[in-house]
């Protein structure tokens, strides 16, 4: 039974040896030493012929078991060393995840353009189409056909830039797009017209160029109450469900009745502050029922159709929404300003 003892000693001995190994070369060496052609176990098995036959079977079995044991052990050990090496390698090339990235940063939209888009989208979603017109506009479309005759004080409501092109002005509002639309399309008409407009206001609260969006809805049976509904829905979408809305009768030559629409001050919530000049209200848009004179100018039957129109200034809404204190900031194009509104 010497051989049996020898084998068991070998097992204990080498189990310990393998445990201490931590690189692949030594593992291969030790594997050869134990399991190679001249390895220890091979030697034991060679001596098996000297063992009495009745024990031979038992020892042979034991030797094979031990051989198998070590083969498994080596395989596992090899894997673990490889894993460790890979881990070390990966660790060595570890990236500092706090390093600044290497990609182009998305640009920032301009607040005015983005607000214009947001508002246009609301109406487009409601089913309005989008119309446009030139900025160097016929005086006729900008004024006369909108029921703003020459030598009428209503022309003073909008200080006009005149162009060295006879009969043309820089449009003072987006309303001439109403005229263009009604001259080319038959009711029903439901459009919005976003765009640049121009007024000769040279004070710090105005810009000579700014943006408006105009809405026009003409069909049979369109009423003032419908106007109120559309505007309410729109203002609630922009400013939130809880916004309070007030309609004040006013005057625009191209609508009658006309109203100014106020919302509860979004800054102070109606308490009164500098922005709302302590009134608790902010004037946000002008609207009204299309004046029959306008329908007559474009050849729409006033007994058959009614319509409403509205217009609002985009800069004011953007300034309110993003708490921008000075309109001039919108036009300086200082990227330190523009990039504040990335992702809006």
């Amino acid at each position: 039974m010497e051989l049996k003892k020898e084998l068991e000693a070998l097992k204990g001995d080498y189990e310990k040896k393998f445990e201490e190994i931590n690189n692949l070369q030594e593992l291969q060496k030790l594997k050869a030493e134990l399991l190679g052609k001249k390895g220890k176990i091979t030697q034991v098995l060679k001596n098996l012929k000297n063992v009495p036959p009745e024990e031979r079977k038992e020892i042979g079995k034991l030797a094979n078991q031990i051989k198998q044991f070590f083969e498994d052990l080596i395989k596992a050990k090899e894997q673990s060393i490889k894993d460790k090496l890979l881990e070390e390698e990966l660790k060595k090339s570890q990236i500092d995840i706090t390093l600044p990235p290497f990609w182009i940063e998305a640009g920032a939209p301009h607040v005015v353009k983005e607000t214009l888009k947001e508002i246009t989208d609301i109406f487009v979603t409601m089913g309005f189409s989008v119309a446009e017109g030139p900025e160097v506009e016929r005086e006729e479309y900008n004024f006369d056909m909108l029921n703003i005759p020459k030598d009428h004080p209503a022309r003073d409501m909008q200080d006009t830039f005149f162009i060295n092109k006879e009969g043309y002005v820089l449009r003072t509002h987006t309303s001439p797009v109403q005229i263009r639309t009604m001259l080319t399309k038959k009711p029903p008409i439901a459009i919005v017209a976003p765009g640049r407009v121009y007024r000769k206001d040279a004070d710090p609260t105005h810009s000579p160029m700014f943006h408006q969006i105009e809405g026009l809805f003409v069909d049979e049976n369109v009423t003032f109450k419908d106007l109120k509904g559309i505007l309410k829905k729109f203002l609630e979408t922009v400013f939130g469900e809880n916004i309070s809305i007030r309609l004040r009768p006013s005057y625009f030559p191209f609508t009658e009745p006309s109203v100014e629409v106020d919302i509860g001050c979004t800054v102070c919530g109606g308490e009164g502050c500098r922005v709302c000049k302590s009134t608790g209200w902010l004037e946000i848009l002008g609207a009204g029922m299309v004046d029959p004179n306008v329908f007559e100018a474009v050849g729409i039957d006033t007994e058959k159709y009614t319509g409403f129109a509205f217009g609002l200034g985009i800069e004011r809404i953007a300034m309110l929404k993003y708490r921008i204190p000075d309109i001039r900031l919108l036009f300086t194009n200082d990227l330190r300003f523009n990039t504040q509104f990335k992702g809006i």
Binding site: F224, R246, N333, N338
Partner: protein, 801 residues
């Protein structure tokens, strides 16, 4: 317009809180704010100045004595309008004026026992000249705060819309308030009798004066106005001048009827109300000389122009302290004529403001008689003659308001009984008829109420438009049009945003200077009445504005600038919507990183190929895969690094590097690239423009791609290197390979190498593919051989071996 509440109360019995009155006025269409008239200040007393002497020691100061009837005060003042006998307001010891407590103060060897006050010190105006003179008839020894109603009266500030000239007076506001609160307005009729002995000679020689009435008043005593009149004027924000002038202003404020008083002794011959003569010169009360045109209306005598009708009086006939007899004019001028003249000459007076917006032609005599009554009473004048020419007599228009029209427009059924009641409350005589109401439009609303819709508005606004319950209409499907351009624009915008460009917003007008600096001819289209010369030229490209954006940012040390804008360029007959880009400096301002054998840099500079990549990637995103470039020749670009962009042979834009000389002149970095793409033409006519050299036009016409079967057989790759002249365009080779061999499906450039002998080596990798079979090696060899032969024949290229 400022109107004291107390004055309104003379014409309508109303005791409502002034804030509620203002709120209701706002709700019915008159934009109104209300403020207290000053604040009660204790220790103010009225005193009469009994003597005024120059301060013997101090320049510009006066030593005054004043009495409150019992006590005499010594007051030192710097106001040079102090006058003996005038009643003024004295702030006694203990009064707090603008936060400062009044105490006796020594000025040299004289002690001042208080301070005479100006309107400014009372907190009633922003800046005063001199102290407030209350006149000689004001009571003395009384609480001055009480006398002025400080903190008691309220002032309405009303801003009317251009259609509401009728509300530009105490009377008009009283009428409106009476209607709102359902009260009766009171009219106080004057008691005057005008003699016939000295009727003036007046002829109206123009159609633009509808009514003219002149009254001769003799022996007026021009002096200070009585306190009561002064106080009302002060409360209304007006400066008292003298009794005659003050009375005309008083009536203008109260009745809304502008009046003018001429010094009768300065009139030579008769009065002619006529059109001005071309080139006639007139010196107005504002001291300015005006050149008149035939469209202007003048009041003239036989020799000279006395006044610019309805706008402003003349220096040569003005009423002053020496005036004895006056001619008091009340007239009605055609609004458009007044506006034309006032606008041209840049004059805006209380008078022109009202005439432009329409004055009540029918109550002209009433208003004028009220003035005459006052002149008799306080200037002791005698009306001794009158002449009236009423050539365009007002006939009230009859307007029917149908119940169904109100319903159609407002969406609310307002019964005719209610409409009738509302209109009558507004002093519009109205009767019910079968299907609605019929109104006679009074003269005070003549310009505003001309059609049925105008009455719908009246009824609506009084009923309260804000109270109407909203309805939610369905937008008709029939009107729907896909917003193709809008979507295209947004797609373009989103592309540039996603690719790292920031959106900017520039003015579409620029100065000439930038054009000169860029070597471009400034466009013709200009703003005639510009605010700034540097904002007067309508730009015909976006680059001129984008360079400004770069400069603005360089000022703030922002050097890496990548911006875009979608905006308009202007031409004589059309406008173009363009996408403009400007990039300068680095795409990524990165860092270098080295670790053992790994090294990289995250720095990325803009250069020609990157800008080309950006623009071509944009075009590809629209489905334009075959954009071609040709060298551009623009004066502000480096012609060796710039290109025009063509799609289907149409020039749709350009881009390139700013010419180094221009960059230097503009003080911008040399590494600056600009580009513009023409997106869409905008017609000034009604028909849209369908010009082909615009991306949107091409986009709408592009074919919808149809599915192509995927290749069934694997490609065979071959690398080929050619020797070509240095200036040979690589693109031509790539194009030609695809063109001359139907099996060459893909050509990829992988190496360009300048050989130094005027030649360069261009290496490409070509993928060969047949649709129906595997290409064998031998087959590919012969294809390549054929291809090379073809290329060498057609181009200046040689295969390198």
């Amino acid at each position: 317009m400022k109107v004291p509440y107390s004055w309104i109360k003379e014409f309508v019995d109303i005791e409502e809180d002034p804030n509620i009155v203002a709120e209701r006025l706002n709700e019915t269409g008159l934009e109104t704010t209300v403020e207290k008239f000053g604040e009660y200040i204790p220790n103010l007393i009225t005193v009469r100045i009994t003597s005024v002497k120059k301060h013997p020691e101090k320049d510009k100061l006066f030593v005054c004595e004043a009495t409150d009837g019992q006590k005499t005060y010594q007051i030192i003042t710097g106001a040079d309008n102090v006058k003996e006998n005038q009643v003024v307001i004295l702030a006694k010891e203990g009064a707090v004026i603008k936060g400062q407590e009044i105490k006796p103060v020594k000025f040299g060897s004289f002690e001042s026992e208080g301070m005479f006050l100006s309107l400014e010190e009372l907190g009633l105006e922003d800046e005063s000249e001199g102290i407030l003179l209350l006149g000689e008839d004001a009571p003395i020894g009384v609480d001055a705060s009480k006398l002025l109603n400080l903190g008691e009266d309220y002032i309405f500030e009303v801003e009317i819309t251009p259609n509401r000239g009728d509300a530009l007076s105490v009377k008009g506001l009283a009428r409106e308030i009476a209607a709102i609160f359902n009260k009766k307005r009171k009219e106080i009729n004057p008691n005057v009798s005008i003699g016939k002995e000295k009727n003036p000679q007046i002829s109206v020689e123009t159609e633009k004066v509808n009514r003219y009435r002149g009254i001769v008043i003799e022996n007026v005593e021009v002096k200070d106005s009585p306190f009561e009149i002064k106080l009302k004027l002060i409360k209304s924000g007006q400066k008292p001048i003298n009794n005659v002038v003050d009375i005309t202003n008083y009536i203008l404020l109260q009745e809304g009827q502008p009046l003018h008083a001429f010094d009768l002794d300065k009139i030579e011959g008769q009065i002619h109300v006529r059109n001005a003569k071309e080139g006639e010169v007139f010196v107005a009360l504002d001291g300015n000389e005006y050149n008149l045109k035939e469209t202007d209306i003048v009041i003239a005598d036989d020799k000279k122009v006395l006044a610019l009708g309805g706008i402003i009086g003349g220096e040569n006939s003005k009423v002053d302290e020496n005036t004895k007899h006056v001619l008091l004019e009340a007239a009605h001028f055609e609004p458009s004529a007044i506006r034309k003249t006032a606008k041209r000459l840049g004059i805006n007076t209380e008078s022109s403001y009202r005439f432009e917006r329409g004055v009540d032609i029918e109550s002209l005599p009433l208003a004028q008689d009220k003035a005459v009554e006052l002149i008799e009473k306080i200037a002791s004048g005698k009306p001794v003659g009158e002449k009236e020419i009423y050539q365009n007599v007002y006939t009230p228009k009859t307007i029917k308001l149908r119940e169904k029209t109100t319903k159609r427009v407002l969406g609310e059924n307002i019964p005719k009984e209610e409409a009738c009641e509302i209109l009558n409350r507004l002093e519009i005589p109205t009767q019910e008829v079968e299907d609605g109401t019929v109104s006679q439009i009074p003269a005070f609303r003549a310009y505003d109420l001309q059609r049925e819709i105008d009455l719908v508005e009246e009824v609506g606004r009084l009923k309260g438009l804000n109270n109407l319950e909203e309805t939610y209409p369905a937008v008709p499907t029939l009107s729907y049009e896909k917003p193709e351009w809008y979507m295209f624009e947004q797609k373009t915008r989103q592309f540039f945003l996603d690719n790292g460009l920031n959106e900017v917003l520039t003015y579409t007008f620029v100065g000439e200077e930038i054009y000169n600096k860029l070597g471009l001819t400034p466009p013709n289209l200009r703003i005639v009445n510009y605010i700034l010369k540097s904002q007067s030229v309508m730009r015909d490209n976006l680059t001129v504005s984008l360079i400004d954006v770069l400069k603005e940012n360089l000022r703030h040390q922002t050097k890496d600038v990548a911006v875009f804008e979608i905006s308009s360029a202007f031409f004589d007959d059309l406008e173009e919507i363009r996408a403009g880009i400007l990039v300068s400096g680095k795409i990524i301002d990165g860092y270098r990183y080295t670790k053992e054998k790994t090294t990289f840099s995250t720095d990325l500079q803009w250069d020609f190929l990157k800008v080309k990549g950006l623009l071509l990637s944009y075009l590809a995103s629209l489905g334009f895969k075959d954009a071609e470039l040709q060298s551009a020749d623009l004066p502000f670009l480096n012609r060796y690094e710039s290109a025009d962009i063509f799609i289907d042979g149409k020039n749709v834009g350009f881009f390139g590097k700013v010419h180094p000389k221009k960059a230097e002149e503009l003080k911008i970095p040399k590494n600056t690239y600009v580009g513009e793409l023409k997106l869409k033409p905008v017609s000034r006519e009604l028909q849209p423009l369908e010009k082909e050299d615009y991306l949107f036009t091409l986009y709408k016409r592009r074919k919808t791609p149809a599915f192509q079967p995927l290749p069934k057989f694997p490609p065979v790759k071959r690398d080929l290197a050619f020797e070509v002249p240095e200036d040979f365009e690589v693109g031509k080779l790539i194009h030609e390979i695809k063109n001359s061999c139907k099996f060459a499906k893909k050509v990829k450039l992988f190496d360009v190498y300048y050989l130094g002998n005027g030649k360069k080596s261009v290496a490409v990798s070509v993928e060969f593919n047949a649709d129906d079979r595997n290409l064998s090696d031998e087959e590919v060899n012969s294809i390549v051989e054929e291809l090379i032969k073809e290329l060498e024949e057609r181009l200046d290229v040689k295969l390198r071996t």
